[in-house]
């Protein structure tokens, strides 16, 4: 079930009714949330519900065992068990084929004829999200940052909470789990925020991202390119993936908000960033902080000298790239960002006071450089093969204009302008929730226009959310 489907509207309406009926019983509410979340997930493929339940159960049990373990060594053993189980699940369902194929390619290149066992497994939707969320719980308990919950139902609700189950944000137990253990208060400002986020998020997905998708496909599904096509196609994809993913995150947060829950902000105007580090503080925040807390810092972070820091950054981002998908272009994308972060760090360390005070001109230059860096990264991310990356990069020297250039330009402007204008305004007026400070009539005008846009483009091509595949 996806947010941009009629069945979700029916599901959510029915859920709200039942949610109201159980308002006096906390336990019944959590049972309802688990049942609804499993229905939401099972709508896609019920067979993978067992995997979701298994992952949750393992970490629930591990959490309790770690707490009761008499020695540090026993605690470590239980944590290792959790990490191994989670990584085996992820490895089997997501990466097995990739590693087998890559190994087979390697053998073929060495002159062998490999006959390796292949598994044709469907990738369970959102597996990377819920596995990371569940695993971080066990790590937090091990680190004594969190007291494990004794309620399986609450834990199942935390892992499977339907607004953020299949495409994040990757929640931290310390933030979300306690909300299932207490009575939640729903206020008018929360409903206002929830509705705004749902409408704006849905507009970004249905009206912007889904209309940018064919523009992206026109370039990335081609076999021959020129500079205008590559530039426009890459910009189109950069905006498509942002509208798609941030749209999902906004709907998720909005849906949770009207139920009285608070889930993390996942995006904070990332295309306003003026360096790679700032970009990652604004883009997919829940993943970047997860990687920082559970990978970069345990690797040593920046505590072991500049060289090791750069290696840690690179390793973290390569694994972050691989988290997105089992393909070499994601590894390359991760390495690109890791290198960018390392170079920026080296530059920032040596940057003189004078440069730092460079003011508006320096910031404008830094922004341009960052966007060139980020958007070339999107080319690596979207490309289907290494040959395509090389072909598209080489085409940047060919300034032949495609016949459809004008039509493409009009579409690109039409489907990016609403986002750019809104974010420019948001960046100057206090961030993503700034429209909530508008007078009610003004926000009503905007929400009415956005709703019309949603209806106009609703289910046009039923484009799935990009991040479902991760």
């Amino acid at each position: 079930m996806t947010f941009n489907s009629a069945v979700f509207l029916q599901f959510f309406t029915a859920f709200l009714l039942l949610y109201w009926l159980v308002r006096h019983h906390l336990r019944a509410r959590n049972v309802l949330i688990v049942a609804a979340s499993y229905l939401f997930y099972g709508w896609w493929d019920w067979r993978f519900l067992s995997l979701l339940f298994f992952t949750s159960l393992v970490d629930f049990v591990v959490g309790l065992r770690i707490e009761r373990a008499p020695t540090d060594s026993a605690r470590r053993t239980w944590l290792t068990a959790s990490i191994v189980v989670n990584l085996v699940v992820l490895g089997t369902f997501k990466y097995y084929g990739f590693f087998i194929d890559s190994f087979a390619d390697l053998l073929r290149a060495a002159g062998f004829t490999p006959h390796l066992p292949t598994l044709h497994i469907v990738l369970p939707v959102g597996i990377s999200f819920y596995t990371f969320q569940s695993m971080s719980y066990a790590i937090d308990v091990y680190r004594r940052d969190l007291v494990p919950t004794r309620s399986l139902i609450n834990f199942l609700a935390f892992v499977s909470f339907f607004p953020q189950l299949v495409a994040g944000p990757i929640e931290r137990a310390a933030h979300l789990l306690p909300q299932f253990e207490r009575t939640v208060k729903i206020t008018l400002p929360m409903i206002e925020e929830g509705l705004w986020l749902m409408v704006w998020g849905m507009f970004k997905k249905v009206a912007l991202a889904d209309n940018l998708a064919p523009l992206t496909d026109l370039v990335f599904q081609s076999d021959s390119w020129n500079a205008p096509a590559v530039l426009l196609g890459t910009v189109a994809f950069g905006f498509q993936i942002y509208c798609d993913f941030s749209g999902y995150s906004d709907i998720a947060r909005g849906t949770a908000r009207v139920l009285g829950f608070d889930i993390l902000f996942n995006f904070n105007l990332p295309y306003a960033a003026t360096n790679p580090r700032e970009f990652w503080r604004r883009w997919h925040i829940s993943l970047s902080t997860w990687l920082r807390d559970y990978l970069y810092i345990p690797l040593g972070g920046n505590r072991r000298g500049p060289a090791r820091t750069h290696v840690n950054l690179l390793a973290t981002m390569v694994l972050g790239g691989l988290w997105h998908g089992a393909a070499w272009n994601f590894v390359l994308w991760g390495a690109w960002h890791g290198t960018g972060l390392a170079v920026h760090r080296a530059f920032a360390e040596r940057r003189s006071e004078e440069t730092t005070r460079g003011g508006a001109r320096f910031r404008a230059l830094a922004w341009c450089a960052t966007m060139l860096f980020v958007f070339y990264g999107w080319l690596l991310f979207r490309a289907r093969s290494f040959e395509q990356i090389v072909g598209m990069t080489r085409a940047l020297a060919d300034f032949t204009a495609p016949a459809w250039l004008a039509s493409y330009g009009v579409n690109l402007v039409a489907f990016t302008a609403p986002l750019i204008l809104m974010e420019l305004w948001q960046s100057r007026h206090g961030g993503p929730l700034a429209p909530l400070r508008w007078p009610r009539w003004a926000r009503g005008l905007l929400e009415g226009a956005l709703l019309l846009g949603i209806i106009l483009y609703w289910d046009k091509d039923n484009v799935p959310f990009i991040y479902f595949q991760f």
Binding site: A6, Y19, V22, R23, H24, H25, L26, R27, A28, R29, R182, T183, V184, K185, I186, T187, L188, I191, E192, L195, V199, P214, L215, D217, L218, Q221, S222, L259, G260, P402, A403, W404, A406, S407, Y408, V410, N411, A414, R440, W441, R443, G444, L445, E447, G448, A449, L451, L452, I455, L456, W458, D459
Partner: protein, 330 residues
Amino acid sequence: MRVLKSHFCECSTMDVARLLAWPLAIIALFAATMHLAAAAGWLPAPRPTLDLDRTILTHQLEASRARQDATLVLLGDSSCLMNVDAAELTARLGQPVLNLGTLSYLDLNASAELLRQFVAANPGQLRAVVLLQHPEALRRPAPQEYHTNLLQHLLDGRDFGPRHTVQGALMSLLGLEIFQSRLLARVLPAPLPGAFRQTYGFSADLDRHLTEHRGSLRDPDVQPLRGSAEYRLAPALERASRDFRAAMPSGVKLLVGITPVPEEFAGRSYSLTRDAMLSKWGQWLEADITLTNLPPMLKDDRFVKTTHLNEAGVREFTETLARALAPHLR
């Protein structure tokens, strides 16, 4: 044990209703404005170039209504539209040709309507009409309701959308259909689907291509040859053919032909079937000439799908068609 409450709400139903009132009022105001503006004639006529089919139909209808230099008009289904290069035919015949072929989902009544529009816009100019259909279109018992309605709405200058879906009904009710087909489609070209997008780009580019190529188009969408090779004339075709004949202006020659099918796919005996079908169809149409010397079949590698030719196929068929037509147009 104390039972904890799940949640409580610090706002009333009225508060939430007030919250929703403004967006809903804006939507209602928009709907009223659109319907009023359309009814009062303040908006331009619908031009729903929103996808491949609608762009083709809109273009061909507009072409039929415009002043043209053509003295020979090609009419028929998508095999007429996509298998003949009208610009090449113009050069070979030495007289201007306009391709008004449309889609296989329409029937001869649609072609007859385009012919009437052309004759009204270009009185006394037409010397001959060439009617070309693929055998798959000839055995179709009835046209698609959607496409027939679409053409009728285009002819009448009325808004049209798929209203059988919830979204379609809402689009119509809220005036979005009017907004989309009368305003938005005029300024925002729609990306075409699949292979058409890779070849032509957007609706505006397809529209321009059709104009530049005198109404002809090439199908870039390669698909396996499939379907049934048992060709026959649908009984309903007789009535439609007689109606088409009635739409023919006097003194204008009617030449009729059947476009080719893939050789291996159809089987060798198809030649006889094609001749029999063409003869019968020609009688129903009271055609001046039946183009029996057009090839019933071409090699399979000349096709992108059962009904449409590739570039080499179009070149070959156009050449053959020019040779077949030349003696009758002197």
